[in-house]
Amino acid sequence: MSDGTAGGREAGSTFADRLMGRVKLGGLLSLAAPVLAIVFAGLITSVILLVTGAPPIETMGTMVDYGLQPRPLTLALNLASGYYLSALAVAIGFRMNLFNIGVDGQYRLAALIAAAVGGAITLPAPLHVAAILLVAVLVGAGWASIAAVLKVRRGVSEVISTIMLNAIATALGSWLLNKDRLAVEVAGSNNIGTQPLGPSAQVPGIPLIPGSPLKVDGLIILAAVMGLLYYVVLNRTRFGFDLRATGRSEPAAVASGVNVKRMIFTTMIISGAVAGLAGMPNLLGESYSYSLNFPPGLGFTGIAIALLGRNNPVGIAFGAALWAFLDTSSNILQIHDISPEIVEIMKGTIVLSVIVAYELVHRYRISAGQRRVSKELSGGPKVQAEGASA
């Protein structure tokens, strides 16, 4: 009897085999998605630039030229640290099918209160920083815990509750940011902010980029550590296993002994705690005070970046860097008389094309994998059938 359904053409791996995914492509394929994505995004962006009357190649050249210079690079890295932390916070929820839209409110409230506390106390440097970080983590977690309690005890969808809590955090923050409460006034300024942090709370920068007059925020290390922690906790610990299992299939997790309610609660709170850190690189490394100028919207950027990075710590890092790069390039585009909206359009396009590219490669991979499985299996069912009877 003929042997193997896909048999007949066993002659090594032909080009067709590779093309059809009949053999494992090893590392090559893993590069395909990003490359495809970049080509995709580049093409679409070029079309948009052409439509708007800007020369695509030159424009992108300018962006890259500028973006790779030491100072803009430093700026982008600093921006990216906050993005990264925010995206991690979102990603933690995503890994468990929780959609924490509330990172925005969580980090803003955390930064405000941490800044106020930090400005009010003086401690030796490492302690001072640690105290501020702790407050931020606690406030972030605390604010997220409202959504967690509502979800676990009352079944309120976290999507709604976090949208509402963002608005409530805004109101609370605005009420607190008042000279009768947490804010101080600066003479002659229309701004209002918390008492600036003393030197002991100012995290020194790192001269990471040679030739840059600016230093990279010291807390980029915190971001990196959190990324590592994220990876280790999720992939190497029992807790992480439970979390991912719950995200993949809640009934299976329950049957395996996971307490899903507790898991939801814990995950939401951890997500909030990490969210609380998102404002810290900026607060402790640059602004030293929470004022009207404190950047809002990090939470929403975090959602886009978490998705862009496919909830993977390295992917998120690339996503954050890309986002930060695009943000910093807005200025140079304007210098070249290209309207800054283009950057927003580019961001949207990139998100879409990256994700479509990944999807296409993913599909290709899956079917390639299926082909491989069935091919490898089709080799010996007869033998195995006999084995079973033995």
Binding site: N78, T170, G173, E185, E286, Q334
Partner: protein, 332 residues
Amino acid sequence: GSEEPATSAKPDASASGAPQEKGPKVGLAYDIGGRGDQSFNDAAAAGLDKAKTELSLADTKELEAGSGETEAAKEERLRLLAQGGYNPVIAIGFAYSASLKKVAAEFPNVQFAIVDDAAATGPNISNLLFAEQEGSYLVGAAAALKSKKEHIGFVGGVQVPLIQKFQAGFYAGAKKIKPDVQIDVKYLTQPPDFTGFNDPAKGKTAAQGMFDAGADVVYHAAGGSGGGVFEAAKSAKGLAIGVDSDQAKTAAPEVQGVIMTSMIKKVDVAVFDFLKGFTSNSLKPGTTVYDLKAGGVDYSTTGGQVDDIKAQLDELKQKIVSGEIVVPDKTS
């Protein structure tokens, strides 16, 4: 490669010089919204445009802020301008305070100006301030005088100190005329939610509520949301007071009739004056307050609706100018 000097790290030679024969290259950094916002930024743009025609400027470069950006991004914007040989560099809005202070120190040979902020000081910084409370005082008085029901209102876009200055002046002015006048106050959003400056629907609802409750004059300091206030005034057959520019001229034609006056804040004048001072080498760094006395703020008379009370308003104006009345700039 790009021929733009902006991308080179070393300061450009032209950045060091005072105005050259060709005239200065002016850099302008807008707040969020930029040119075309029909409000604050546009007023600055108008000043620049006037300078372009009346003073010989070699070049201008206008950059605008992105929403949710950090201080560092603002700094970079100013730095790119300074580095690119733009001198002077004007920053529109108090948000540039800290960044301007930093960048100005890095470029001692470039002249900087900042609108709405006195906290960033330096030998090469001009602070262009406005006494919004004084102009608001006058329109507050006008509102009280015009109100038949002893009930007026104030709609603020976002509850920030700058807008609270408007409220404080308006309140004081109205109370001065009629101590018993009822004043409704509403801020549309809280920071950092700045949509209150762009949400006419909310402006309309808030003003409608005031009119329904018996108010007959409503003053807005709500940027783009003001359009809603005018609409509400129109449908309630009440009156409205515009802000920043003479809105009886710039607002939608159908509602121009309800705008009895506007509190004018002449950012254009401030920008133009600064540029003029720069080209004529008569610039003095430090704070310039554009108050009633300097004509930096005022009330408008377009439409003739305040002609009957003009005398009273001008008397108050005089008292403020002379210092007899000191208008508070904070809400109590």
